[in-house]
């Protein structure tokens, strides 16, 4: 049973790696933040599965923490990225 949860956690990590492609290619910074936000939630799910697979219940606190703190990076991105990155790529997808 634990192996199944470990396999699910592995599957989610592969999801994160697949999502990295969008971070590399993403034309404008907002796409990269969207990808980072998805990784945050996928990370929460992976931590929960690992907590079940490795029988260490205190990893759930780490998952709870991740769920809380992902929004702070986005707040920082919104508030402080005053510049607008590559205009040329920007109008490519508008």
């Amino acid at each position: 049973m634990n192996n199944f949860f470990l396999a699910m956690a592995l599957f989610l990590v592969l999801n994160i790696l697949a999502g990295l492609w969008r971070v590399l290619k993403g034309p404008n910074p907002a796409d990269r933040m969207v990808a980072a936000q998805l990784f945050g939630t996928t990370g929460v799910a992976t931590l929960l599965l690992l907590a079940q697979a490795l029988e260490s219940p205190f990893i759930r606190n780490a998952a709870l923490l991740f769920a809380l703190l992902t929004v702070m990076t986005v707040l920082a991105f919104i508030r402080n990225t005053s510049y607008r990155l590559p205009e040329d790529e920007h109008n490519e997808n508008l």
Partner: protein, 306 residues
């Protein structure tokens, strides 16, 4: 099955770090660094050290991202594109170093005994149930004490660069739309609650002063990000007292031991003293980290003229 998981985590960590170095834009590097922090906390979870997974999750997701994003926003160098030509005369020595270290790994003796057993035997004297908190606060109390000193010195350094002695002028205007302020009203009490929970948990389970302090610091940074003025309104005297409270509490405890025992710089093994010091350390860690994030010079308005 475990080995497959380790291989994937190891390869992805190495790949993400290589992409961070090779990223063309700074913003891309920072977002990749946040993912790097996430993968690293998965590695800590796999290596069965929940303490560090919690600390890495709080630091990586909370403070590191905000700090880097702030600095990048303030420097606002939009078209900055790093020249990413691979310079062989740097790559070869790094590869050589990596090869040396990898070669040395193969010679790790199989049967070396860590300090786990020593700590386990000496645990009853400290009246603490959890070995890591015992190591942090009792056996290696000096490290924690001087680490609080390092935090204090970092804050002093930031304040010197700002050439002011408070964080008054760091107010951000409140966000226009309601969601910004609504989310703070909802998440902030939860963060403080979870910070206290982690601190209280430290006595007998993974948690403790550092994790609690970092979570409280993230709560303070979120309060500041939402434009709430309350952080700056803290009276300066209280702010300074709280900054030094962690460092001084260790000192006072260690110094007071001179009066009722003959040695200096030991502290009584009773649990209440140790937990009291831990609670003071949490507050000062939280406030030091908040002042570090808030204290960056480009933000305050009065030294615009300089």
């Amino acid at each position: 099955m475990d080995l497959v998981f380790d291989l994937i985590i190891g390869l992805s960590l190495a790949g993400v770090s290589w992409r961070i170095v090779r990223a063309r834009e700074h913003f891309q590097a920072i977002v990749l660094f946040i993912t790097f922090g996430l993968l690293l906390s998965l590695a800590w979870t796999r290596l069965k050290s929940p303490d560090i997974a919690i600390a890495e999750a709080a630091v990586g997701a909370g403070l590191a991202g905000v700090l880097l994003m702030d600095t990048l926003g303030a420097l606002s160098s939009p078209r900055e594109r790093a020249k990413v030509v691979i310079s062989l005369k740097l790559l070869i020595p790094c590869l050589f170093l990596a090869g040396l270290m990898a070669y040395s790994i193969l010679y790790i003796p199989e049967d070396f005994q860590g300090l786990g057993i020593v700590v386990r035997e000496a645990l009853p004297q400290t009246h603490l149930e959890y070995p890591i908190t015992a190591v942090l606060l009792d056996f290696r109390g000096y490290d924690t004490w001087l680490e609080l000193g390092v935090l204090l010195v970092a804050v002093l350094g930031v304040l010197c660069i700002r050439r002011t002695d408070n964080i008054k002028g760091t107010m951000l205007p409140a966000p226009a739309e309601p969601v910004g302020s609504w989310i703070v009203k909802l998440l902030l009490p939860l963060m403080v609650l979870i910070g206290g929970y982690l601190l209280w948990l430290g006595a007998f389970a993974p948690g403790g002063a550092f994790q609690g302090g970092v979570v409280l610091a993230s709560a303070g940074v979120m309060l500041w990000q939402s434009g709430h003025p309350s952080l700056g309104l803290m009276p300066r005297l209280w702010w300074k007292i709280l900054l030094c409270s962690g460092f001084l509490s260790f000192l006072i405890l260690a110094f007071s031991s001179l009066f009722y025992t003959d040695q200096l710089l030991t502290h009584p093994a009773t649990k209440t003293w140790i937990l009291g010091v831990e609670y003071a350390a949490t507050l000062s860690i939280a406030l030091c980290l908040i002042s570090l994030v808030l204290g960056s010079p480009a933000r305050n308005h009065e030294n615009k003229g300089v």
